[in-house]
């Protein structure tokens, strides 16, 4: 039974339609990856699930309940947290305050506490009282992930967490994914870095101009199929 | 007008940027005809109507100046009463002390206002957005308090224009002979023509500015300062030029208003309610950022003022409520509402992209 499902998901920015009927599904314990070129609608997809973009009420199901009519603030309380593209830490808050505010409206009990997040990303503990903008890019990404975990999500939506980071830092961050999954969190990754995404995911969805162009298990997909789905054939 | 389906032109089509369509040339001709009719109106209209129209014309002219600032340039001022009052006081000073003819004093008041607007801009332009608004208000208060100190102009209680000044205004004998009227009526007719000229002049000026290269720059500033900077538009100088020009026009209108009223006091001349709140009401109700909106707004305001002003506080509560309702539910005003529904523009100031034979709205 799917934990999170989208059925014929459409999304609009004013008059501009960004998504045309996207069907996806995420089983409990899974990691799925969304890939595609710039402007394919990947970020919009995550924002639509998280409630930042208006979408039809029945087009997003969480635990088989429609959540498309809920605000972003209510979606996170149900257990879906978004790590937004570009980290977007709160610049006037310290690192620790950024983490604490992640648990602001938390209704759910669960594994993630400040101490657990610090043990996942020890560097953040050292930098806890610094202002968020003083962190390096990789540390900011860790803080953004930690901030999302503080709401004890059952689904973690990650938007381009490797963007602009050095390969060694990317590897560090991806190395924490198994520990996050071990706490019972399922993950949706939006990634430019296809190789990285495919390595860790159970299923891959490829978007092209707001439409789903390919779905499959990583092992079953050929390079040509992905290339065609990515750039159009 | 045929809208293109997907907004993407087929290759090989010609692009051009146009501001006027066929309908607007007819509108221009109609505007000229109305102007000529209005100029001839004193020949048959009653004095009451002439006085009402003076009020309508100068409120419209003030509204169009504010519209140029706030609607087209993003300079939201709540201190334009500074220049109405300064212009009014300059008229009094130039006629009472320098013995100038009032009709000559009006343009000079405009020059003085422009001169004062430059250093004023230097200071208030250090404030951004909403703070700019309150900053202009502080400056208007400074002007008011300073003029209250000039004992020669009546200090805090104000002063009147000597009848010898108003009844010897240039051309008054000619008007008296032409229309066979007494001095007070002739004075009104001259003020009427003055108001008509200033109103028409303001409309033409704002229209010309908006259709000029600078006008294009203004659109960019209003929409996004960063984008305008990217286009190489010198935002600061363009804004300052608009601010100074609006001050000069507002000052001339203020001079005319106080020629007509023939009595001035600091509290009335620098009134935020009379010269800014009402003016904002006119622009917002009619439709900010359009040429047509203030015209409609001024007519509505004139009717409300005429029939409801006796209700005093309730009337002002109504105006405030109407303005809030329009801002919330029809932010582009009555004209914006009409224009959207029927797709008309009489005085097109927004540029549209013209592709081949097809026209699409520029975004």
């Amino acid at each position: 039974m799917a934990l999170l499902e989208t059925c014929n998901l459409q999304a609009f920015y004013g008059d501009f339609q960004a998504l045309y009927g996207i069907d996806t599904r995420l089983e409990a314990g899974e990691t799925i990856a969304i890939i595609g070129a710039n402007g394919a609608g990947k970020s919009t997809f995550l924002k639509a699930v998280a409630g930042l973009v208006r979408r039809p009420a029945a087009s997003v199901l969480f635990d088989r309940q429609p959540i498309g009519a809920l605000s972003a603030a209510d979606v996170v309380k149900l257990g879906i947290a978004l790590v937004p593209e570009g980290r977007r830490l709160f610049p006037s808050l310290s690192v620790e305050e950024n983490l604490l505010i992640g648990g602001h409206g938390r209704k759910l009990g669960g594994p993630w506490t400040l101490d657990r997040v610090y043990s996942l990303f020890p560097i953040l503990k050292e930098r806890r009282s610094q202002a968020a903008p003083t962190l390096s890019g990789g540390q900011q990404q860790m803080a953004a992930i930690g901030r999302a975990l503080m709401s004890n999500p059952r689904v973690l939506l990650c938007d381009e967490i490797s963007l602009g980071l050095a390969p060694i830092i990317i590897a560090d961050i991806y190395a924490t994914l198994p520990r996050i999954k071990a706490e019972g969190t399922s993950v949706v990754l939006v990634e430019q870095d296809i190789a990285q995404a495919i390595k860790v995911s159970d299923r891959v969805y490829c978007f092209q101009e707001g439409r789903l162009s390919l779905v499959g298990r990583p092992r079953e997909l050929t390079r040509e199929q992905i290339h065609d789905a990515y750039f159009g054939s | 007008m045929r809208a293109m389906k997907d907004g993407r032109p087929a290759s090989g089509q010609m692009f051009s940027v146009a501001t006027s369509g066929g309908g607007s040339r007819a509108a221009l001709a109609a505007a000229a005809a109305i102007l000529i009719m209005l100029a001839a109106l004193p020949a048959f209209a009653a004095r009451n109507l002439i006085q009402d129209l003076i009020f309508l014309f100068y409120m419209l002219a003030l509204a169009q100046c504010w519209n140029l600032l706030a609607g087209f340039s993003g300079l939201i001022s709540v201190g334009q009463q500074a220049f109405v009052g300064l212009g009014g006081y300059m008229l009094f000073a130039l006629t009472l002390f320098a013995g100038l003819d009032p009709l000559l004093a009006i343009p000079l008041a405009g020059v003085v206002c422009a001169t004062f607007a430059l250093p004023t801009a230097l200071i208030v332009f250090r404030l951004r957005g909403a703070y700019f608004a309150i900053g202009t208000w502080v400056v208007a208060e400074v002007y008011r308090l300073v003029f209250a100190q000039f004992k020669g102009l009546g200090g805090g209680t104000g002063t009147s224009l000597a009848p010898s000044v108003t009844s010897t205004v240039f051309g008054i004998e000619w008007v008296k002979a032409l229309f066979d009227v007494r001095t007070p009526a002739a004075r009104d007719i001259i003020s009427y023509w003055g108001a008509l000229v200033l109103m028409a002049g303001t409309l033409v000026f704002v229209y010309a500015v908006l259709r000029s290269r600078r006008g294009l720059a203004l659109g960019a500033i209003r929409d996004q300062e960063a984008a305008a900077a990217g286009l190489g538009v010198d935002i600061y100088r363009t804004k300052r030029a608009v601010y100074v020009a609006a001050a000069a026009m507002t000052g001339m209108i203020g001079a005319l208003i106080y020629l007509q009223k023939a009595r001035i006091s600091p509290d009335a001349a620098f009134s935020v309610l009379d010269w800014t709140a009402y003016v904002i009401f006119i622009v917002v109700i009619g439709g900010i950022g359009t040429m047509e909106g203030p015209v409609i707004g001024a007519i509505i305001f004139y009717l409300l003022q005429r029939y409801l002003a006796d209700f005093g506080a309730w009337y002002l509560i109504l105006l405030g409520t109407l303005a809030i309702a329009v801002m919330l539910f029809a932010p582009r005003g009555l004209w914006g509402f009409v224009a959207e529904r029927f797709r008309v523009t009489l005085f097109p100031t927004r540029r549209r992209l013209v592709i081949g034979a097809d026209e699409v709205k520029g975004g």
Partner: protein
Amino acid sequence: MTGALDAVIQGVLLGGLYALFAAGLSLIFGVMRLVNLAHGDLIVLAAFVILVVAEKLGLDPFAAVLVAAPILFAIGFVLQHVLLNRTLGRDLLPPLLVTFGLSIIIQNGLLQLFSADSERLRSGAIETASIALGGGIAIGVVPLLTLLSAVAVIVILNLIFYRTPLGRAFRATSDDPEVAQLMGIDHNRIFATAMGLAFVVIAIAALYLGLRANFDPTIGPARLLYAFEAVIIGGLGSFWGTLAGGIVLGLAQTIGARIDPEWQILSGHLAFLAVLAIRPRGLFPRALD
């Protein structure tokens, strides 16, 4: 010499009142980037609320403000939730014009309800009580309480902003309202809470406005200008800055009034313009706004 010292002391005390005016304005701008043109009229409105509560319940104004504060909190919360939240966005014009319209509605509504007569909050002997400092200088008890209250309000606001989850939510929402929603923060509610809090500060400001001098429905806009000047002189983004700005403004007005009583207000405005000309970001800038 005594005269100059007295002017400085009275100016500093007057600055306390202006700091109270400014703190509410600064709080609202800090959280939701809203510049409230009705701020002065709201202070006058609050003074009338305290007056009515004091008269109807037979309370001293200091007790009446405790009753009025929750009422005003609720009014502020609802005003923000129902009306002002709808005006917030990229465009500056809607919030400015809606609060400007509100200012006119409040002024004329108060005129209609209470007439243009001057009113005053009465609290018996404390109104005229003063502490003699020797050398012919005395400090009024009410002005002193005003300054002490301003300090207390600023300390409490700083505690709320920097030491509580609510303050954290205020600052986060101010930084990035969209991401704040992702934290489970209902930004409309946070803004409404901030406005409610600002109304409590407004109630305290109104108490001292009404105790120190007469008030009538038309004096609101001038209080808005003093509040605004104090915020800008002090530098945006800090509550302590509003106290400094209030004191500079109070000093300028008091010293101007000693030269010529008619120059009191003008001196304050000129001091503001001078600061703007010399240090456009205020005397004690904090945030990079």
